[in-house]
Symmetry: D2
Subunit: 378 residues, 4 copies
Amino acid sequence: MNQFEKKTFPIKELPSGDHLNLTIYRVKGDKPGPHVHIQSSVHGAELQGNLVIMEMLRYLQKNPINGSMTLIPLANPQATNTKFGTTTQGRFNPITGNNWNRNYTDISSKIDYKTFLDKNIQLEWKDLKTEFKKEIFNQCNFELNSNDFSIHSSENKKLNLILQKIASTADIILDLHTGPKACRYLYSAEYQKTQAKDLYAPYTIIIPNEFAGAMDEACFMPWVNLHKHLTEQDIDIDPDVFSFTVELGNEEEASSIDAINDCKRILKFLHAQKVVNEKPVLNEQQQFWSELSNYHSYYSPCGGLFEPKVKPGEQFEIGDILANIHCPRKIMNLDAIEEAVISIKAVHNAALINHTPTTAIGEGMEMIQVLADLKRWD
Amino acid sequence: MNQFEKKTFPIKELPSGDHLNLTIYRVKGDKPGPHVHIQSSVHGAELQGNLVIMEMLRYLQKNPINGSMTLIPLANPQATNTKFGTTTQGRFNPITGNNWNRNYTDISSKIDYKTFLDKNIQLEWKDLKTEFKKEIFNQCNFELNSNDFSIHSSENKKLNLILQKIASTADIILDLHTGPKACRYLYSAEYQKTQAKDLYAPYTIIIPNEFAGAMDEACFMPWVNLHKHLTEQDIDIDPDVFSFTVELGNEEEASSIDAINDCKRILKFLHAQKVVNEKPVLNEQQQFWSELSNYHSYYSPCGGLFEPKVKPGEQFEIGDILANIHCPRKIMNLDAIEEAVISIKAVHNAALINHTPTTAIGEGMEMIQVLADLKRWD
Amino acid sequence: MNQFEKKTFPIKELPSGDHLNLTIYRVKGDKPGPHVHIQSSVHGAELQGNLVIMEMLRYLQKNPINGSMTLIPLANPQATNTKFGTTTQGRFNPITGNNWNRNYTDISSKIDYKTFLDKNIQLEWKDLKTEFKKEIFNQCNFELNSNDFSIHSSENKKLNLILQKIASTADIILDLHTGPKACRYLYSAEYQKTQAKDLYAPYTIIIPNEFAGAMDEACFMPWVNLHKHLTEQDIDIDPDVFSFTVELGNEEEASSIDAINDCKRILKFLHAQKVVNEKPVLNEQQQFWSELSNYHSYYSPCGGLFEPKVKPGEQFEIGDILANIHCPRKIMNLDAIEEAVISIKAVHNAALINHTPTTAIGEGMEMIQVLADLKRWD
Amino acid sequence: MNQFEKKTFPIKELPSGDHLNLTIYRVKGDKPGPHVHIQSSVHGAELQGNLVIMEMLRYLQKNPINGSMTLIPLANPQATNTKFGTTTQGRFNPITGNNWNRNYTDISSKIDYKTFLDKNIQLEWKDLKTEFKKEIFNQCNFELNSNDFSIHSSENKKLNLILQKIASTADIILDLHTGPKACRYLYSAEYQKTQAKDLYAPYTIIIPNEFAGAMDEACFMPWVNLHKHLTEQDIDIDPDVFSFTVELGNEEEASSIDAINDCKRILKFLHAQKVVNEKPVLNEQQQFWSELSNYHSYYSPCGGLFEPKVKPGEQFEIGDILANIHCPRKIMNLDAIEEAVISIKAVHNAALINHTPTTAIGEGMEMIQVLADLKRWD
């Protein structure tokens, strides 16, 4: 059966001298296969992924896998512990304002591809891959240990780099997030669009093969660039390292029932990647995708009270009312009450992916995000 | 038809020199009758009441009333504007930590009942009432204008006192709040328990006739004490000034559909008080009440992820599971996953009134509030 | 020489599953004598006391004492770790708004003095004291362990009760705080006014022998009430358990040079109490005191930029300018610039004890606290 | 004499329906000359610039200028009003985490230089400049008014764009900021290094001629690029539009005495630019500069209490102790107290430009910023 190992180590000393820790579960299957890295809650209020990891462990308790798995729940303890009032503000570092998922290091840009390939190009892909994982690991280590780091690291770069380093040995990286109030959806890089479908999200946003600070990008960019260098040398290999941001509904929510289904969708992907043997049974659903350039935000034209009229996951047409903004202090007389209700109308044919969790909304605040120009996956 | 008047005036100058304002709607009916004061959002994230006020204005547009009404939506603009991250922290002053609904002044304790009654005891109750309203008004004014105030007022005492002063002329005061994640319920003082039933809340918490800093108490205590002094002089008059805190579901929520029903429940009360002529049609429901001493909080025994298993408004028995706390980092091995799920069991036969809106929960954080020893109203 | 012991134990589990801990240093002298309890940073940004505790340990390294000492630096780790932006918001619980130094339990009110004295009145004072310390300790323990507590404890009551319990065995309790921008000063209960002088603060505020939620009060109230009951039985004993709140300058400041002097002032007190043998040499200074009723706050009459004109510790007369509020957006024309500068004039002959650490100040915000009707100690 | 005009208009509607406003003072001299734009407090806690603007108005009251001036105090009211606890968190948007001075629009990249020059190249520089200012103004307007904006603008882009638009007509732009705890210093783009010296800052950081989101860059980049295009067409004109970020000491501080000197330094620059006739008298001081690549941050290696040992503005050598971190809970025994004090030693020969305003410091928090490889200006 699968072997289980648990490791806990400090990742941040607080002003009080107490420590925040990372806990890593490692599960090793009976047979060889890909290494899977799953982490959750880099944004502190995005918690559903932790129940999915617990559900995955329940699966692993009973089902031997091919390969191995690293599971990191509550990967950013500082973020999950940050509260002002009863809710969690886990999106950005409360000291610096830095978005916790935009602080990864561009390890890809630090790799000397030419030197690496000069040395390893004769290897078979399987061995080349092993060597390249080591290269990524070493670059992470170098950044973590350089004198430079101790002087120049930003507030939370250390945590991010440690997560990157841990993920450097993986073939499959799943970074579990949620939206504010959101449907299930997925971010996939262009190059892994085919595989993305197996994650069985109702909506997939295709992002460019580029680095913009996020975990998924930090993990796939070295492979994207390796592939580019190999192609330049007329070596044609399908990249088979995959890295996704998986969005699992609402922040500040933990549903153990939904977690069963969320876990099944991941298992469907892992089945396609031959990590698990059983094909999970999932309810049928339609799947849509579109490019990041079709992902649009609607900002509030005024201050007031936001009431959504379309639910996350629902599709609508241009002119449909997406939400009303109630402005209770703008009523001028009893015959003009409705003038204090501002309707937000769609300017796209699209699906509503997520909306803000707040009702008190100021002018210019992000209300709604929609995905337009939807293409159906069959 | 009803006459409408709108008044807006500054209540706080911000550091930038900009002003926060109060907007007051006054509606006067054709015929004489009680004066009704309705305000909402003294806690800044408790927003549903504003839609109820808008709904009430829609009613007033078409239906003449007996008496008059003061409606103050968004009565605490500073609180509704306070955000850290996307949600609203509107429960306490972000500078001082003071709960916005515990800062009212104990006007009752500043009234010289003996002198007042020496002068007015010969009046009929109707006229005595008018004189006593003036007395409350004058005491509020005195506090607001005293030299002492300019030096000694706490951060938000001014706003509270202004609200008290505006409400001093009312016969019926409704302070619209919400819970965190909550059912509809009501706080009623002991003395007005009979009338409370007309507000048609599924649950009513009976509080003592005492002052503890809240708006409802600040408004009813002068009348409670007046009644006590009258009784001492063997004058037996049923007090007919009423003041309630009305709880309207979840914070950070604005439902215009629910607002229609919430408004109807208030109209039912106003019908009983002869302010409105039509009796609104409401779905039948059971109503329960219990004393404040039966209102219990459950605090988290550990840190983890809170998943409620009983919904606000539902009743349960001792031993029932109210919630699970998932502790994703406490799994010791694959055979012991369920040990990382802590069940919170009921120690009362009760109804769940509200639970926390957060999922990330620390040891000692308030999770759940229940009302036990329920009595049915028939 | 003195014996040293260190103890660390968890006091709060965070949502992430990590723990905040208390660290307690215990130092035992060669000879018997009073037990001293010193804690710092219950308000998280009030940090100077920690350096004073480190300085005290340096003293204890070299100088044997009579009796023993408990030293708890950073006694409220959650508070010291709470930041929004670069500075520390350590005054109130960020989830509930509760002031961290108003949450102690009124243990005094839970003691049955009659039963206790019936049983112990025949004891000598020294032994009675030992028994009464046990009584306080047991009451704290009872509160901590009651079923009731697990259900009804507020967010941070546990920490407060643990600190009370630890302090229950002490004869001398010093709770080290700071003001916002403040001079050195002291809170002393009426009954221990004579001893207060030995703490050598330039200003002492005499508070009533009453409980209002703070640590010093929570610790002295059982002894105040014991003394009252003894007096009723015609037993005349000078109370010799002392509990003070010691204010050590500015929050968000740590000066190791000032800590040397702050420590000396405490040693002067401990010398008078026969805990230390050497009398520390201190620069001469004048000492003033006044009653809490003479401690006045000045609140801002407008929004603007606060510039203090009197420093903490300085004395002034009625009419003196204490501060200017600059209102840069209120200039109406080039000839009226000075009208945009509002002068705050003293309405007391007093000393400025502290002023706000912020410059951006809203209407009604506390600016300045002064102590009037100063009496000189000679 | 100078003419004065005041204009106030709303820039943001709050959830409550209240408005935050901008106030703009415009002063026009008797004679023609450059137009000067001075704004302060885009970072909300950086307040000294407002007193400098008030001081500048006092100067303008008495001294006619050549040209005109726009003065915008408290240019970001939302930021100055943002508090959690008593201090101001004005560095980033509390909802999004976005740094308020990294949200300007790259107007430069939206200008079609080729088309503009095709049309205007024959003009004299004076007239070309006027036309190009119009071009910048129109681009800002276009961004503000595009349909796209109403849907796609980020939370505070509107404020930034309005400030850019107002500044588009200026020849000299001064954006007044402060550090956390800082000396006076200056950011200057490479191309305006000669002029920078006249602002008489003790330290100047030379930044590349590039856009990274800040106001100074947003204002100078169109001119840098215009110059580049002119040079390509062999037209050699010295750029004479200047844009600086001026750092005026500590945040959360307002010193009217320092403001007199800060204003004089600006007047010295304006004298060199022929806006004012009198040369202000300033105390002599040394001036140093270095490139941005020599500006280094020191991050804390641990959690603890930060005590700086070098003051802002002071210079030091490699190995000097810049600060101590006291770790009061790390003392293992009475003989090892000093091991709980971590010294931060310089790894540069440099000047300390600023340090954190907090004492409670977590691992990885930015403590100190230094400017190395100093060059002396003579």
